[in-house]
Protein backbone atom coordinates (compact mmCIF):
# COMPACT_ATOMS: atom_id res chain seq x y z
CA UNK A 1 0.00 0.00 0.00
CA UNK A 2 1.49 3.36 -1.00
CA UNK A 3 1.50 6.38 1.33
CA UNK A 4 -1.22 7.97 -0.81
CA UNK A 5 -3.35 4.83 -0.60
CA UNK A 6 -2.84 4.66 3.11
CA UNK A 7 -3.86 8.29 3.58
CA UNK A 8 -6.96 7.76 1.45
CA UNK A 9 -7.97 4.73 3.48
CA UNK A 10 -7.49 6.44 6.83
CA UNK A 11 -9.53 9.35 5.53
CA UNK A 12 -12.16 6.90 4.40
CA UNK A 13 -12.20 5.31 7.84
CA UNK A 14 -12.73 8.73 9.38
CA UNK A 15 -15.53 9.47 6.95
CA UNK A 16 -17.11 6.12 7.75
CA UNK A 17 -16.94 6.89 11.46
CA UNK A 18 -18.73 10.17 10.83
CA UNK A 19 -21.32 8.45 8.64
CA UNK A 20 -21.88 5.80 11.29
CA UNK A 21 -22.51 8.43 13.93
CA UNK A 22 -24.78 10.48 11.68
CA UNK A 23 -26.91 7.70 10.21
CA UNK A 24 -29.30 5.80 12.38
CA UNK A 25 -31.21 4.47 9.43
CA UNK A 26 -29.83 1.30 7.82
CA UNK A 27 -30.46 2.33 4.22
CA UNK A 28 -28.83 5.71 4.75
CA UNK A 29 -25.93 3.98 6.45
CA UNK A 30 -25.32 1.57 3.58
CA UNK A 31 -25.54 4.43 1.04
CA UNK A 32 -22.91 6.35 3.01
CA UNK A 33 -20.67 3.31 3.11
CA UNK A 34 -21.09 2.86 -0.62
CA UNK A 35 -20.21 6.47 -1.39
CA UNK A 36 -17.17 6.43 0.88
CA UNK A 37 -15.74 3.03 0.02
CA UNK A 38 -16.51 2.64 -3.63
CA UNK A 39 -13.64 4.86 -4.80
CA UNK A 40 -11.24 2.74 -2.72
CA UNK A 41 -12.38 -0.84 -3.17
CA UNK A 42 -13.61 -2.50 -6.32
CA UNK A 43 -16.89 -4.00 -5.13
CA UNK A 44 -20.17 -4.04 -7.00
CA UNK A 45 -22.58 -4.88 -4.21
CA UNK A 46 -22.55 -4.04 -0.53
CA UNK A 47 -24.97 -6.07 1.57
CA UNK A 48 -25.73 -5.86 5.28
CA UNK A 49 -27.38 -8.90 6.80
CA UNK A 50 -28.72 -9.66 10.24
CA UNK A 51 -28.36 -13.04 11.84
CA UNK A 52 -31.40 -14.23 13.77
CA UNK A 53 -29.98 -16.64 16.35
CA UNK A 54 -33.34 -17.99 17.52
CA UNK A 55 -34.60 -18.81 14.04
CA UNK A 56 -31.20 -19.74 12.55
CA UNK A 57 -31.77 -17.52 9.56
CA UNK A 58 -30.19 -14.56 7.81
CA UNK A 59 -32.27 -11.44 7.17
CA UNK A 60 -31.33 -9.16 4.32
CA UNK A 61 -31.31 -5.67 5.82
CA UNK A 62 -29.80 -3.28 3.26
CA UNK A 63 -28.24 -3.44 -0.19
CA UNK A 64 -26.31 -0.96 -2.24
CA UNK A 65 -25.09 -1.94 -5.66
CA UNK A 66 -24.79 -1.30 -9.35
CA UNK A 67 -28.13 -2.99 -9.89
CA UNK A 68 -30.48 -4.06 -7.19
CA UNK A 69 -29.96 -7.79 -6.68
CA UNK A 70 -32.56 -9.77 -8.60
CA UNK A 71 -33.62 -11.71 -5.57
CA UNK A 72 -33.52 -8.77 -3.19
CA UNK A 73 -37.21 -9.22 -2.56
CA UNK A 74 -36.41 -12.44 -0.77
CA UNK A 75 -35.43 -11.09 2.60
CA UNK A 76 -34.86 -14.21 4.64
CA UNK A 77 -32.47 -17.14 4.17
CA UNK A 78 -31.61 -20.23 6.19
CA UNK A 79 -28.15 -19.78 7.67
CA UNK A 80 -27.06 -23.29 6.64
CA UNK A 81 -25.27 -23.41 3.28
CA UNK A 82 -24.74 -19.65 3.23
CA UNK A 83 -21.59 -17.51 3.60
CA UNK A 84 -22.91 -16.32 6.99
CA UNK A 85 -23.22 -19.95 8.13
CA UNK A 86 -19.59 -20.53 7.22
CA UNK A 87 -18.23 -17.47 9.04
CA UNK A 88 -20.40 -18.36 12.00
CA UNK A 89 -18.88 -21.84 12.01
CA UNK A 90 -15.24 -20.84 11.50
CA UNK A 91 -15.27 -17.52 13.34
CA UNK A 92 -13.19 -16.09 10.47
CA UNK A 93 -14.00 -13.77 7.55
CA UNK A 94 -14.77 -15.62 4.34
CA UNK A 95 -13.13 -14.81 1.02
CA UNK A 96 -14.41 -16.51 -2.13
CA UNK A 97 -12.08 -15.53 -5.00
CA UNK A 98 -13.86 -17.62 -7.63
CA UNK A 99 -17.57 -18.18 -7.22
CA UNK A 100 -17.68 -20.74 -10.03
CA UNK A 101 -15.55 -23.14 -7.95
CA UNK A 102 -17.49 -22.65 -4.74
CA UNK A 103 -19.18 -25.84 -3.52
CA UNK A 104 -20.25 -25.00 0.06
CA UNK A 105 -23.24 -22.76 -0.77
CA UNK A 106 -26.79 -23.93 -1.36
CA UNK A 107 -27.82 -24.24 -5.03
CA UNK A 108 -30.53 -21.57 -4.79
CA UNK A 109 -28.00 -19.09 -3.42
CA UNK A 110 -25.50 -20.00 -6.12
CA UNK A 111 -28.22 -19.39 -8.70
CA UNK A 112 -28.70 -15.84 -7.42
CA UNK A 113 -24.96 -15.16 -7.56
CA UNK A 114 -24.91 -16.56 -11.10
CA UNK A 115 -27.90 -14.45 -12.19
CA UNK A 116 -26.26 -11.30 -10.86
CA UNK A 117 -22.87 -12.19 -12.27
CA UNK A 118 -21.19 -12.23 -8.88
CA UNK A 119 -17.75 -13.76 -9.35
CA UNK A 120 -16.07 -13.13 -6.01
CA UNK A 121 -16.92 -11.88 -2.52
CA UNK A 122 -15.71 -11.12 0.96
CA UNK A 123 -17.96 -11.67 4.04
CA UNK A 124 -17.15 -10.26 7.47
CA UNK A 125 -18.98 -11.05 10.73
CA UNK A 126 -20.59 -8.14 12.55
CA UNK A 127 -19.95 -8.83 16.22
CA UNK A 128 -20.62 -6.99 19.42
CA UNK A 129 -20.38 -7.83 23.11
CA UNK A 130 -23.50 -9.97 22.66
CA UNK A 131 -21.88 -12.07 19.93
CA UNK A 132 -22.38 -12.18 16.17
CA UNK A 133 -25.46 -10.28 15.09
CA UNK A 134 -24.93 -10.11 11.35
CA UNK A 135 -22.53 -9.86 8.48
CA UNK A 136 -21.46 -7.42 5.80
CA UNK A 137 -20.67 -8.66 2.28
CA UNK A 138 -18.60 -6.96 -0.42
CA UNK A 139 -19.22 -8.81 -3.67
CA UNK A 140 -17.82 -8.16 -7.12
CA UNK A 141 -18.47 -9.08 -10.73
CA UNK A 142 -14.72 -9.53 -11.15
CA UNK A 143 -12.98 -12.77 -10.06
CA UNK A 144 -10.46 -12.45 -7.23
CA UNK A 145 -11.35 -8.77 -6.79
CA UNK A 146 -9.68 -8.12 -3.44
CA UNK A 147 -6.06 -8.11 -2.40
CA UNK A 148 -4.91 -9.06 1.10
CA UNK A 149 -4.58 -5.36 1.91
CA UNK A 150 -8.12 -4.68 0.68
CA UNK A 151 -9.41 -7.45 2.92
CA UNK A 152 -7.54 -6.15 5.96
CA UNK A 153 -8.99 -2.72 5.34
CA UNK A 154 -12.49 -4.18 4.93
CA UNK A 155 -12.11 -5.94 8.30
CA UNK A 156 -11.36 -2.57 9.96
CA UNK A 157 -14.51 -1.23 8.36
CA UNK A 158 -16.44 -4.29 9.50
CA UNK A 159 -15.71 -3.52 13.16
CA UNK A 160 -17.15 -0.03 12.79
CA UNK A 161 -20.11 -1.22 10.77
CA UNK A 162 -20.85 -3.74 13.54
CA UNK A 163 -21.27 -0.93 16.06
CA UNK A 164 -23.33 1.14 13.65
CA UNK A 165 -25.67 -1.69 12.67
CA UNK A 166 -26.22 -2.62 16.29
CA UNK A 167 -27.11 1.02 17.00
CA UNK A 168 -29.36 1.14 13.94
CA UNK A 169 -31.11 -2.05 15.03
CA UNK A 170 -31.57 -0.64 18.54
CA UNK A 171 -33.07 2.54 17.09
CA UNK A 172 -35.37 0.48 14.90
CA UNK A 173 -36.53 -1.50 17.92
CA UNK A 174 -37.11 1.74 19.86
CA UNK A 175 -39.05 3.23 16.96
CA UNK A 176 -41.07 0.06 16.62
CA UNK A 177 -41.90 0.12 20.32
CA UNK A 178 -42.79 3.79 20.11
CA UNK A 179 -45.11 3.15 17.18
CA UNK A 180 -46.65 0.28 19.07
CA UNK A 181 -47.19 2.45 22.16
CA UNK A 182 -48.73 5.22 20.04
CA UNK A 183 -51.08 2.74 18.36
CA UNK A 184 -51.96 1.28 21.72
CA UNK A 185 -52.65 4.77 23.10
CA UNK A 186 -55.00 5.56 20.21
CA UNK A 187 -56.76 2.24 20.72
CA UNK A 188 -57.11 2.68 24.48
CA UNK A 189 -58.40 6.24 24.14
CA UNK A 190 -60.94 5.05 21.59
CA UNK A 191 -61.93 2.25 23.92
CA UNK A 192 -62.37 4.66 26.85
CA UNK A 193 -64.48 6.94 24.67
CA UNK A 194 -66.67 4.13 23.41
CA UNK A 195 -67.03 2.51 26.82
CA UNK A 196 -67.93 5.65 28.70
CA UNK A 197 -69.39 7.58 25.73
CA UNK A 198 -67.28 10.60 26.58
CA UNK A 199 -68.02 12.17 23.23
CA UNK A 200 -71.72 12.26 23.89
CA UNK A 201 -73.18 15.14 25.83
CA UNK A 202 -76.89 14.57 25.59
CA UNK A 203 -79.52 17.30 25.80
CA UNK A 204 -80.46 20.58 24.22
CA UNK A 205 -82.07 22.62 27.00
CA UNK A 206 -80.97 26.19 27.71
CA UNK A 207 -78.99 25.25 30.84
CA UNK A 208 -76.91 22.70 28.94
CA UNK A 209 -76.59 25.01 25.93
CA UNK A 210 -75.06 27.61 28.26
CA UNK A 211 -72.51 25.08 29.49
CA UNK A 212 -71.67 23.96 25.95
CA UNK A 213 -71.17 27.58 24.97
CA UNK A 214 -68.76 28.02 27.88
CA UNK A 215 -66.88 24.88 26.83
CA UNK A 216 -66.55 26.21 23.27
CA UNK A 217 -65.26 29.53 24.58
CA UNK A 218 -62.81 28.18 27.13
CA UNK A 219 -61.44 25.11 25.36
CA UNK A 220 -59.17 26.82 22.79
CA UNK A 221 -57.56 29.03 25.44
CA UNK A 222 -54.88 27.51 27.62
CA UNK A 223 -56.39 28.78 30.87
CA UNK A 224 -57.07 26.63 33.90
CA UNK A 225 -60.68 25.66 34.25
CA UNK A 226 -62.64 24.83 37.37
CA UNK A 227 -65.75 22.73 36.83
CA UNK A 228 -68.20 22.78 39.69
CA UNK A 229 -71.38 20.84 40.07
CA UNK A 230 -73.14 18.24 42.13
CA UNK A 231 -72.07 14.64 41.99
CA UNK A 232 -73.17 12.84 38.84
CA UNK A 233 -73.60 15.96 36.69
CA UNK A 234 -70.92 14.92 34.20
CA UNK A 235 -67.85 16.90 35.25
CA UNK A 236 -65.45 14.42 33.69
CA UNK A 237 -67.46 14.45 30.47
CA UNK A 238 -67.04 18.22 30.29
CA UNK A 239 -63.32 18.01 31.13
CA UNK A 240 -62.82 15.53 28.29
CA UNK A 241 -64.81 17.74 25.92
CA UNK A 242 -62.56 20.68 26.81
CA UNK A 243 -59.49 18.57 26.10
CA UNK A 244 -60.94 17.33 22.80
CA UNK A 245 -61.68 20.85 21.62
CA UNK A 246 -58.33 22.29 22.72
CA UNK A 247 -55.05 22.57 20.84
CA UNK A 248 -53.76 19.80 23.12
CA UNK A 249 -56.27 17.25 21.82
CA UNK A 250 -53.61 15.03 20.27
CA UNK A 251 -51.70 14.73 23.53
CA UNK A 252 -52.80 12.77 26.57
CA UNK A 253 -55.73 13.46 28.87
CA UNK A 254 -54.54 12.40 32.31
CA UNK A 255 -57.02 12.05 35.15
CA UNK A 256 -56.52 11.85 38.89
CA UNK A 257 -59.37 11.62 41.36
CA UNK A 258 -57.96 13.27 44.48
CA UNK A 259 -60.64 11.66 46.65
CA UNK A 260 -59.86 8.16 45.44
CA UNK A 261 -56.17 8.18 46.32
CA UNK A 262 -55.00 7.86 49.93
CA UNK A 263 -53.55 11.20 51.12
CA UNK A 264 -50.14 9.63 51.60
CA UNK A 265 -49.93 8.55 47.98
CA UNK A 266 -51.18 11.66 46.20
CA UNK A 267 -47.75 13.28 46.16
CA UNK A 268 -46.10 10.30 44.48
CA UNK A 269 -49.06 9.92 42.09
CA UNK A 270 -48.65 13.52 40.95
CA UNK A 271 -44.88 13.96 41.09
CA UNK A 272 -43.78 10.39 40.41
CA UNK A 273 -40.92 8.79 42.27
CA UNK A 274 -37.50 7.30 41.80
CA UNK A 275 -36.69 3.72 42.70
CA UNK A 276 -36.13 3.44 46.46
CA UNK A 277 -37.62 6.86 47.24
CA UNK A 278 -39.71 5.24 49.96
CA UNK A 279 -40.59 1.78 51.17
CA UNK A 280 -42.62 0.30 48.38
CA UNK A 281 -41.03 2.36 45.61
CA UNK A 282 -39.74 -0.78 43.93
CA UNK A 283 -39.22 0.92 40.60
CA UNK A 284 -39.20 4.33 39.00
CA UNK A 285 -42.67 5.69 38.34
CA UNK A 286 -43.65 8.65 36.21
CA UNK A 287 -46.18 10.95 37.87
CA UNK A 288 -49.33 12.44 36.41
CA UNK A 289 -47.70 15.87 35.93
CA UNK A 290 -45.09 14.30 33.68
CA UNK A 291 -47.58 12.06 31.87
CA UNK A 292 -49.74 15.08 31.08
CA UNK A 293 -46.90 16.95 29.36
CA UNK A 294 -48.36 18.81 26.33
CA UNK A 295 -51.79 17.49 27.30
CA UNK A 296 -54.44 18.06 29.92
CA UNK A 297 -54.36 17.13 33.59
CA UNK A 298 -57.80 16.63 35.07
CA UNK A 299 -57.84 16.78 38.86
CA UNK A 300 -61.23 15.52 39.94
CA UNK A 301 -62.44 16.32 43.47
CA UNK A 302 -59.65 18.86 43.90
CA UNK A 303 -61.30 19.98 47.15
CA UNK A 304 -60.05 16.72 48.66
CA UNK A 305 -56.42 17.52 47.88
CA UNK A 306 -54.57 17.49 51.21
CA UNK A 307 -53.56 20.96 52.44
CA UNK A 308 -49.88 20.02 52.55
CA UNK A 309 -50.01 19.03 48.87
CA UNK A 310 -51.65 22.25 47.74
CA UNK A 311 -48.52 24.49 47.73
CA UNK A 312 -46.67 21.82 45.75
CA UNK A 313 -49.41 21.80 43.13
CA UNK A 314 -49.34 25.58 43.05
CA UNK A 315 -45.60 25.60 42.43
CA UNK A 316 -45.96 23.18 39.52
CA UNK A 317 -48.81 25.24 38.06
CA UNK A 318 -46.76 28.43 38.28
CA UNK A 319 -43.34 27.15 37.16
CA UNK A 320 -44.14 23.93 35.34
CA UNK A 321 -41.24 22.43 37.30
CA UNK A 322 -40.98 19.69 39.88
CA UNK A 323 -38.78 16.84 41.05
CA UNK A 324 -39.84 13.24 41.36
CA UNK A 325 -39.86 11.96 44.94
CA UNK A 326 -36.33 10.82 45.73
CA UNK A 327 -35.04 12.55 42.60
CA UNK A 328 -32.78 15.54 42.22
CA UNK A 329 -33.38 16.32 38.57
CA UNK A 330 -35.84 19.13 37.87
CA UNK A 331 -38.47 18.04 35.37
CA UNK A 332 -40.45 20.44 33.20
CA UNK A 333 -44.01 19.71 32.20
CA UNK A 334 -46.36 21.84 30.15
CA UNK A 335 -49.94 20.84 30.81
CA UNK A 336 -53.32 22.48 31.01
CA UNK A 337 -55.14 22.04 34.29
CA UNK A 338 -58.81 21.27 34.43
CA UNK A 339 -60.04 20.78 37.98
CA UNK A 340 -63.42 19.74 39.28
CA UNK A 341 -65.17 19.72 42.60
CA UNK A 342 -68.63 19.18 43.99
CA UNK A 343 -67.73 21.27 47.03
CA UNK A 344 -67.90 25.04 47.38
CA UNK A 345 -64.21 25.82 47.09
CA UNK A 346 -64.74 29.51 47.86
CA UNK A 347 -66.33 28.56 51.18
CA UNK A 348 -63.48 26.13 51.80
CA UNK A 349 -61.07 29.01 51.28
CA UNK A 350 -63.00 31.08 53.84
CA UNK A 351 -62.76 28.18 56.27
CA UNK A 352 -59.04 27.80 55.50
CA UNK A 353 -59.55 24.28 54.20
CA UNK A 354 -58.31 25.24 50.75
CA UNK A 355 -55.48 27.63 49.92
CA UNK A 356 -56.68 30.93 48.51
CA UNK A 357 -53.69 31.27 46.13
CA UNK A 358 -54.37 27.83 44.66
CA UNK A 359 -58.08 28.59 44.37
CA UNK A 360 -57.43 31.78 42.37
CA UNK A 361 -54.88 29.94 40.20
CA UNK A 362 -57.39 27.17 39.43
CA UNK A 363 -60.51 29.27 39.17
CA UNK A 364 -59.48 31.22 36.05
CA UNK A 365 -62.50 30.07 34.05
CA UNK A 366 -65.22 28.57 36.22
CA UNK A 367 -67.92 26.39 34.68
CA UNK A 368 -70.86 25.39 36.82
CA UNK A 369 -72.82 22.36 35.70
CA UNK A 370 -76.55 22.43 36.33
CA UNK A 371 -78.11 19.69 38.42
CA UNK A 372 -80.44 17.41 36.47
CA UNK A 373 -83.48 18.86 38.29
CA UNK A 374 -82.46 22.25 36.84
CA UNK A 375 -82.60 20.89 33.30
CA UNK A 376 -85.68 18.69 33.39
CA UNK A 377 -86.32 19.45 29.71
CA UNK A 378 -83.37 17.18 28.88
CA UNK A 379 -84.62 14.22 30.91
CA UNK A 380 -86.76 12.65 28.10
CA UNK A 381 -83.82 12.71 25.69
CA UNK A 382 -81.49 11.29 28.33
CA UNK A 383 -84.00 8.55 29.18
CA UNK A 384 -84.35 7.56 25.52
CA UNK A 385 -80.60 7.67 25.10
CA UNK A 386 -79.93 5.36 28.06
CA UNK A 387 -82.81 3.02 27.16
CA UNK A 388 -81.38 2.66 23.65
CA UNK A 389 -77.89 2.10 25.02
CA UNK A 390 -78.85 -0.55 27.56
CA UNK A 391 -81.45 -2.32 25.45
CA UNK A 392 -78.88 -2.72 22.66
CA UNK A 393 -76.30 -3.94 25.13
CA UNK A 394 -78.73 -6.37 26.77
CA UNK A 395 -80.25 -7.40 23.44
CA UNK A 396 -83.73 -6.30 24.44
CA UNK A 397 -86.27 -4.92 22.04
CA UNK A 398 -87.65 -1.94 23.96
CA UNK A 399 -89.45 0.30 21.52
CA UNK A 400 -91.38 2.77 23.66
CA UNK A 401 -91.44 4.54 26.97
CA UNK A 402 -94.98 4.97 28.35
CA UNK A 403 -96.02 8.56 28.99
CA UNK A 404 -96.69 7.97 32.70
CA UNK A 405 -93.22 6.43 33.10
CA UNK A 406 -91.64 9.44 31.43
CA UNK A 407 -93.76 11.71 33.61
CA UNK A 408 -92.48 10.01 36.78
CA UNK A 409 -88.89 10.25 35.62
CA UNK A 410 -89.19 13.90 34.64
CA UNK A 411 -90.65 14.89 37.99
CA UNK A 412 -88.25 12.98 40.20
CA UNK A 413 -85.69 15.15 42.01
CA UNK A 414 -82.60 13.13 40.93
CA UNK A 415 -80.27 13.92 43.83
CA UNK A 416 -77.67 11.68 42.20
CA UNK A 417 -78.20 13.48 38.88
CA UNK A 418 -77.39 11.77 35.56
CA UNK A 419 -75.47 8.96 37.24
CA UNK A 420 -78.59 8.04 39.21
CA UNK A 421 -80.81 8.35 36.13
CA UNK A 422 -78.47 6.08 34.20
CA UNK A 423 -78.50 3.48 36.97
CA UNK A 424 -82.29 3.56 37.24
CA UNK A 425 -82.65 3.11 33.49
CA UNK A 426 -80.16 0.25 33.48
CA UNK A 427 -82.18 -1.45 36.24
CA UNK A 428 -85.42 -0.74 34.36
CA UNK A 429 -84.11 -2.27 31.14
CA UNK A 430 -83.07 -5.39 33.05
CA UNK A 431 -86.54 -5.67 34.57
CA UNK A 432 -88.47 -4.93 31.35
CA UNK A 433 -89.65 -8.03 29.54
CA UNK A 434 -91.82 -6.54 26.78
CA UNK A 435 -91.43 -3.70 24.29
CA UNK A 436 -92.52 -0.97 26.73
CA UNK A 437 -90.12 0.26 29.37
CA UNK A 438 -91.17 -0.55 32.93
CA UNK A 439 -89.52 1.29 35.79
CA UNK A 440 -89.19 0.11 39.38
CA UNK A 441 -91.28 2.91 40.90
CA UNK A 442 -90.58 1.71 44.43
CA UNK A 443 -86.89 2.21 43.79
CA UNK A 444 -87.57 5.77 42.82
CA UNK A 445 -89.64 6.35 45.93
CA UNK A 446 -87.13 4.63 48.20
CA UNK A 447 -84.29 6.49 46.67
CA UNK A 448 -86.17 9.78 46.85
CA UNK A 449 -83.47 11.32 49.00
CA UNK A 450 -83.59 14.97 49.87
CA UNK A 451 -81.45 17.11 47.66
CA UNK A 452 -78.07 17.62 49.27
CA UNK A 453 -78.27 20.48 51.75
CA UNK A 454 -76.24 23.50 50.78
CA UNK A 455 -72.95 23.70 52.59
CA UNK A 456 -73.18 26.14 55.49
CA UNK A 457 -70.49 27.74 57.61
CA UNK A 458 -69.35 26.06 60.80
CA UNK A 459 -70.88 28.92 62.78
CA UNK A 460 -74.30 28.38 61.18
CA UNK A 461 -74.03 24.63 61.68
CA UNK A 462 -73.13 25.13 65.37
CA UNK A 463 -76.01 27.56 65.84
CA UNK A 464 -78.44 25.08 64.25
CA UNK A 465 -77.15 22.24 66.42
CA UNK A 466 -77.48 24.25 69.66
CA UNK A 467 -80.97 25.41 68.68
CA UNK A 468 -82.00 21.77 68.04
CA UNK A 469 -80.74 20.79 71.51
CA UNK A 470 -82.51 23.75 73.11
CA UNK A 471 -85.78 22.88 71.33
CA UNK A 472 -85.45 19.24 72.47
CA UNK A 473 -84.88 20.32 76.12
CA UNK A 474 -87.69 22.86 75.96
CA UNK A 475 -85.05 25.56 76.35
CA UNK A 476 -83.82 24.23 79.67
CA UNK A 477 -80.08 24.87 79.60
CA UNK A 478 -78.81 23.25 82.81
CA UNK A 479 -79.67 20.12 84.74
CA UNK A 480 -79.49 16.45 83.79
CA UNK A 481 -82.03 16.77 80.95
CA UNK A 482 -80.94 20.21 79.85
CA UNK A 483 -79.37 21.19 76.53
CA UNK A 484 -75.83 21.46 78.01
CA UNK A 485 -75.97 17.80 79.15
CA UNK A 486 -77.29 16.72 75.74
CA UNK A 487 -74.45 18.49 74.01
CA UNK A 488 -71.88 17.11 76.47
CA UNK A 489 -70.68 20.50 77.70
CA UNK A 490 -70.83 22.61 80.85
CA UNK A 491 -73.80 24.92 81.32
CA UNK A 492 -71.47 27.97 81.44
CA UNK A 493 -69.75 26.91 78.22
CA UNK A 494 -73.11 26.54 76.45
CA UNK A 495 -74.30 29.91 77.70
CA UNK A 496 -71.07 31.49 76.49
CA UNK A 497 -71.50 29.88 73.05
CA UNK A 498 -75.15 31.00 72.89
CA UNK A 499 -74.10 34.54 73.69
CA UNK A 500 -71.38 34.47 71.06
CA UNK A 501 -73.74 33.10 68.44
CA UNK A 502 -76.52 35.51 69.40
CA UNK A 503 -78.96 32.77 70.45
CA UNK A 504 -81.81 33.99 72.56
CA UNK A 505 -85.07 32.32 73.48
CA UNK A 506 -87.86 33.15 71.12
CA UNK A 507 -91.16 33.74 72.88
CA UNK A 508 -94.17 33.03 70.76
CA UNK A 509 -97.59 33.86 72.09
CA UNK A 510 -100.25 36.43 72.56
CA UNK A 511 -100.15 39.17 75.06
Amino acid sequence: MSVDDSALKYRALLQISEALIANRDRDALVRSLWDTLHPLIAFDYLVIMRYDVARRCVLLKAIAGLNKLDSAHREEWPVEGSPVGIILETGEPLYVPDMSRETRFRPDLMEIYRQNNIRSGFWIALTSARGMHGAVAFTSCTPDAYTVEDREFMQHIGRQVAIATENALAFEEINELRRHIEDEKVYLEEEIRSEYRFDEIVGSGPALRGVLQQIQTAAPTDSSILIQGETGTGKELVARAIHRLSSRANATFVKLNCAAIPAGLIESELLGHEKGAFTGAVGQRIGRFELANNGTLFLDEIGELPLEMQPKLLRVLQDGQFERLGGTRTIHSDFRLVAASNRDLRAMVAEQQFRADLFYRVNVFPITLPALRERREDIPTLVRYFVQEFSTRMRKNIESIPAEVMETLVHYSWPGNIRELRNIIERSVILTSGKRLAIPKDDLRESRLPAPAPVVTMEDAERRHILDALDASNWVVGGPSGAAAMLGMKRSTLQSRMQKLGIMRRYVGTS
Partner: protein
Amino acid sequence: MMRAQVSSVGDRVTLKVCGRLAESYVPELENCWRSARTDHPAGKILVDLQHVTFIDDKGRSLLERMHRDGATFAAHGPLTRAIIENIIRSEA
Protein backbone atom coordinates in the same frame (compact mmCIF):
# COMPACT_ATOMS: atom_id res chain seq x y z
CA MET B 1 -66.97 5.25 14.68
CA MET B 2 -69.53 5.29 11.90
CA ARG B 3 -69.97 3.17 8.81
CA ALA B 4 -72.28 3.93 5.91
CA GLN B 5 -73.03 1.51 3.10
CA VAL B 6 -75.18 1.90 0.01
CA SER B 7 -76.88 -1.07 -1.59
CA SER B 8 -79.55 -1.24 -4.27
CA VAL B 9 -82.03 -3.76 -5.58
CA GLY B 10 -83.74 -2.45 -8.71
CA ASP B 11 -84.82 1.09 -7.90
CA ARG B 12 -84.81 0.48 -4.15
CA VAL B 13 -81.73 2.05 -2.62
CA THR B 14 -80.75 1.53 1.01
CA LEU B 15 -78.22 3.66 2.85
CA LYS B 16 -77.34 1.68 5.94
CA VAL B 17 -75.73 3.61 8.79
CA CYS B 18 -74.07 1.96 11.79
CA GLY B 19 -72.51 3.55 14.88
CA ARG B 20 -72.34 7.20 15.88
CA LEU B 21 -73.93 9.82 13.67
CA ALA B 22 -72.10 12.73 15.28
CA GLU B 23 -69.38 15.34 14.84
CA SER B 24 -66.91 14.59 12.03
CA TYR B 25 -68.88 11.56 10.84
CA VAL B 26 -71.81 13.76 9.78
CA PRO B 27 -70.08 15.27 6.68
CA GLU B 28 -68.94 11.75 5.76
CA LEU B 29 -72.51 10.55 5.72
CA GLU B 30 -73.64 13.66 3.86
CA ASN B 31 -71.12 12.92 1.09
CA CYS B 32 -72.30 9.34 0.96
CA TRP B 33 -75.93 10.52 0.78
CA ARG B 34 -75.15 12.92 -2.08
CA SER B 35 -73.30 10.22 -4.01
CA ALA B 36 -76.22 7.86 -3.54
CA ARG B 37 -78.62 10.48 -4.85
CA THR B 38 -76.39 11.22 -7.85
CA ASP B 39 -75.95 7.53 -8.64
CA HIS B 40 -79.65 6.75 -8.22
CA PRO B 41 -81.52 9.91 -9.26
CA ALA B 42 -84.79 8.07 -9.75
CA GLY B 43 -84.49 5.76 -6.78
CA LYS B 44 -86.26 6.16 -3.48
CA ILE B 45 -83.63 6.05 -0.74
CA LEU B 46 -84.27 4.30 2.54
CA VAL B 47 -81.91 5.43 5.29
CA ASP B 48 -81.54 2.50 7.66
CA LEU B 49 -80.72 3.84 11.11
CA GLN B 50 -81.42 0.64 13.02
CA HIS B 51 -77.80 0.24 14.07
CA VAL B 52 -77.16 3.86 14.97
CA THR B 53 -76.08 4.27 18.58
CA PHE B 54 -76.06 8.05 18.93
CA ILE B 55 -77.18 11.12 16.98
CA ASP B 56 -75.94 14.60 17.89
CA ASP B 57 -77.36 17.97 16.74
CA LYS B 58 -75.36 17.98 13.50
CA GLY B 59 -76.52 14.44 12.76
CA ARG B 60 -80.09 15.43 13.43
CA SER B 61 -79.80 18.42 11.07
CA LEU B 62 -78.48 16.13 8.35
CA LEU B 63 -81.42 13.75 8.86
CA GLU B 64 -83.77 16.74 8.53
CA ARG B 65 -82.15 17.67 5.22
CA MET B 66 -82.35 14.09 4.03
CA HIS B 67 -86.02 13.98 4.95
CA ARG B 68 -86.68 17.19 3.00
CA ASP B 69 -84.84 15.62 0.05
CA GLY B 70 -87.21 12.66 0.12
CA ALA B 71 -85.45 10.07 2.25
CA THR B 72 -87.46 7.57 4.26
CA PHE B 73 -86.11 6.17 7.47
CA ALA B 74 -85.98 2.86 9.31
CA ALA B 75 -85.30 3.46 12.98
CA HIS B 76 -84.94 1.27 16.02
CA GLY B 77 -84.62 2.20 19.67
CA PRO B 78 -86.36 4.94 21.61
CA LEU B 79 -83.81 7.70 20.97
CA THR B 80 -83.52 7.22 17.22
CA ARG B 81 -87.27 6.74 16.85
CA ALA B 82 -88.02 9.87 18.86
CA ILE B 83 -85.64 11.91 16.72
CA ILE B 84 -87.12 10.60 13.47
CA GLU B 85 -90.70 11.02 14.67
CA ASN B 86 -89.87 14.55 15.68
CA ILE B 87 -88.37 15.34 12.27
CA ILE B 88 -91.35 13.90 10.43
CA ARG B 89 -93.81 15.73 12.69
CA SER B 90 -92.03 19.09 12.34
CA GLU B 91 -91.86 18.75 8.55
CA ALA B 92 -95.47 17.72 8.21
